[in-house]
Structures are given as structure tokens and as C-alpha cells.
Symmetry: C2
Amino acid sequence: MLHDRLGYLLKHVQLSLTEQTGAVLAPLDVTGRELAVLTVLGGPEALAQQQAAAKLGVDRTTMVDLVDALQGKQLVERRPDPADRRRNLVHLTERGRQVLVEGSRVHARAEREFLAALDEDEIRQLKSLLQRVLKE
Amino acid sequence: MLHDRLGYLLKHVQLSLTEQTGAVLAPLDVTGRELAVLTVLGGPEALAQQQAAAKLGVDRTTMVDLVDALQGKQLVERRPDPADRRRNLVHLTERGRQVLVEGSRVHARAEREFLAALDEDEIRQLKSLLQRVLKE
DNA sequence: TATTGTTATACTCTATAACTATA
DNA sequence: TATAGTTATAGAGTATAACAATA
């Protein structure tokens, strides 16, 4: 049976989630993907592109396009690292901060709505199981 | 935190799973995707392309390419439906049946290995939670 | 008119290889 | 030589629009 297959379940749950969170983020003019990038870049220290790429699990060439898009929306700025001028430290702009805060809020709300069939304890359980699988 | 986000977890668990099952299916010259198509098409009744597409949750134009690929490997055959000649009923060949049986076996084994961090009960739990979310 | 399969086309996500500027 | 970022390019996977054959 197809619905027994983990791959099928993961794919379609993810598709559905992406659709639902994408809808609530659209008014902020960011995708779920871009919000994830802002989340990584919004930490206490500015990161170089490849550091951010590693955290996201994407290629450095993919990172270039992601930063391009965010910079085009004036949510981040590239600034050469004075200590190593090959590197771009990516800083969030004021607007980037605002979008990160508001986006995180509506994203979290959409995720809870998406998981409405589960209670709080089951949601924790689901995430915990997935985390354990991911760690090998 | 990024690892708390369901989207991140789903995506990376799926990527990792695809990689692992893809590796064991490679000797059979099918992808996990193609095996899923064979699974749907391998039921008791031959299906038209759009019926199969609906079960897989893909577009009918995508289905054309999927069937093309499987037909190129001589795992399926298109036969016009005598009752409605607009339709192609897609039949598994003898070789398609063999690949389906053997592929299902190695795929299931790879999936269990992938989930080695969980016991049988937790695997059931994980799938059950995902199924409930998918049903809305 | 409507539907099945098809083709052409395009868009997203991803990665590989080659380039540049720095180290 | 080696590394960070970039560009060009290509490959999956997906979908929309238009078409042919059939209903």
C-alpha cells in the first residue's frame, strides 16, 4: 500500500505544509524557504554565506541565489568580512528583522493549524521521532 | 531554532531516505519514484494514466514522462482501453512484476535500516501521526 | 463540448565546473 | 595552492496551455 510508505507520507505532508505556510507568508512577500534563511542569518553573530549554507544544508551556489533574492527585497545586506575579505558577512536589515519576527509568528501559527489533528503532546512526539531519525 | 521546524525536519528526513533507498534500488535500474509508480500500477486492475496519476498525487503531464521512462525500460506497456479508446491502460510486463516484487523487498529493508533509531512501535507511531496529518 | 493523452514550454530547486579575488 | 563567492550550465521535478483523437 502506498500510504504505508514513509517516502510518500513525508513528501505529501511536506507539500501540504509548504502550501499552507506559504499562503500566510505571502502578504509579507517571503517564502517559507526565505524565512528559514532569515532565521539562520538572524542569530547573534553575522554569518558568512557558506556558514549559513551549511546550517541550512544547501550548496554554496544555492546560497548565492537565496541571498540575492533577500537582498533584492532589502531584507539582508552583504558586507565583506574585514578579517577575511573573501567572505561576505550577511546582515539582516531593520526590515529584515521585522519580517523575521512577524514571519516567525504567522509561520508558527500556520504550522499549529496544519497539525490541528494532533494534540500538543503528539506534535512533540512527531518532531522528536523525526529528529531522532535525522541524527542517524 | 531551525531543527524545531517541521518543514526542515520533513525535508531533510526525506532527502536522507531518498538517498538511502535510491542506493539499494540502483542495481535494479529503478528509482524510488519509479517503484512507487509500479506499486500503483501493479494492483489487480490495470489503470489508465490519469487514474494512476491521481493515486500518486501528480499531474497527468508528469505521468506521461513517468510511463515513458518505465516503458523505455520495458517494465510497463500502454494498451488502449477497448471500452474508451482515449485511455491508455498501463500494464506491467513480466519483467515489471519481477522488479516490483524485488524492489519492494529491498526498499522495505532499506526503510527499516533508515529507521534503525526507532523500534517497531515507534515506526508505527510515526507513520500513524503522518497519516493523520495528511487526512487533514 | 468534454476528456485522455501528448507536446512544448517554463519555472523551481539543486548541483557541477570553471572563473575571480583574496588568502 | 586553497578558499569564498560567483557565473554559466544542466538536470530533476513540476505545472500550464494548446493540440489530436475520441467520447
